[in-house]
């Protein structure tokens, strides 16, 4: 009887939401732990647990979204995207000039993202860097 009452206390949706928000919190805590680690093996461990938790959070989110348990935020308007793109193109230009002035003729080495674990998404993300 008591058991049944407990079962109905929180809905499936409420329970899943609690897990989802705790996963979000744990992701942040692992990120903090990894960045504040001194031992290389501890940093490696926290980084591994961070990645696993981040993946699990993504999977639960997708499952909840497909079960209509999650209201996604409304899409950003086209004019807002145009505005931000415009503004940050300007920032990018200014920073390029700043770097050229301060680094002069120094050769700038090309940044290559480290780690090839997510090979599928890497080629997709490559285009953002160019």
């Amino acid at each position: 009887m008591n058991h049944q009452a407990n079962k109905q206390l929180l809905s499936e949706e409420d329970l899943a939401s609690t897990v989802l928000s705790d996963l979000k919190r744990v992701v942040r805590e692992y990120a903090t732990a990894a960045t504040e680690s001194t031992c290389p093996d501890m940093r490696q461990l926290f980084t591994k647990l961070l990645n696993n938790t981040l993946n699990a959070q993504g999977q639960l989110f997708t499952a909840m979204q497909q079960a209509n348990m999650y209201n996604t935020a409304s899409p950003a308007l086209r004019q807002e995207l145009d505005k931000q793109a415009q503004q940050y193109k300007q920032t990018q230009q200014q920073t390029k000039q700043f770097l050229q002035q301060n680094l002069g003729g120094q050769q700038q080495s090309m940044y290559v993202p480290a780690g090839g674990q997510q090979q599928g998404s890497q080629s997709q993300h490559q285009s953002y860097f160019n």
């Binding site: 499936e12 093996d41 926290f46």
Partner: protein
């Protein structure tokens, strides 16, 4: 050469073990209440993930016990 674990790292390990422990139980509650197969599957898999995380954290403590100083430095 294994470096000793810092006091801060140990705090994070202990807090993380509490988190993992709680998440295991929360996932079990979802599995018990859920009627949606995708959610049930996801949480069932997550229980074993949190168990593995807990074990890894426990292993890290045990692994560092041998190199931990016994006097404050």
């Amino acid at each position: 050469m294994l470096q000793p674990m810092t006091a801060k790292e140990l705090e994070y390990v202990a807090d993380s073990m509490s988190n993992e422990d709680l998440l295991m139980k929360q996932c079990a509650a979802v599995v018990a209440a859920s009627m949606t197969p995708a959610i049930r599957n996801c949480c069932t898999q997550m229980i074993s993930m949190h168990q593995q995380h807990y074990d890894s954290l426990m292993h890290a403590i045990q692994h560092h016990q041998q190199v931990a100083p016994t006097q404050p430095q």
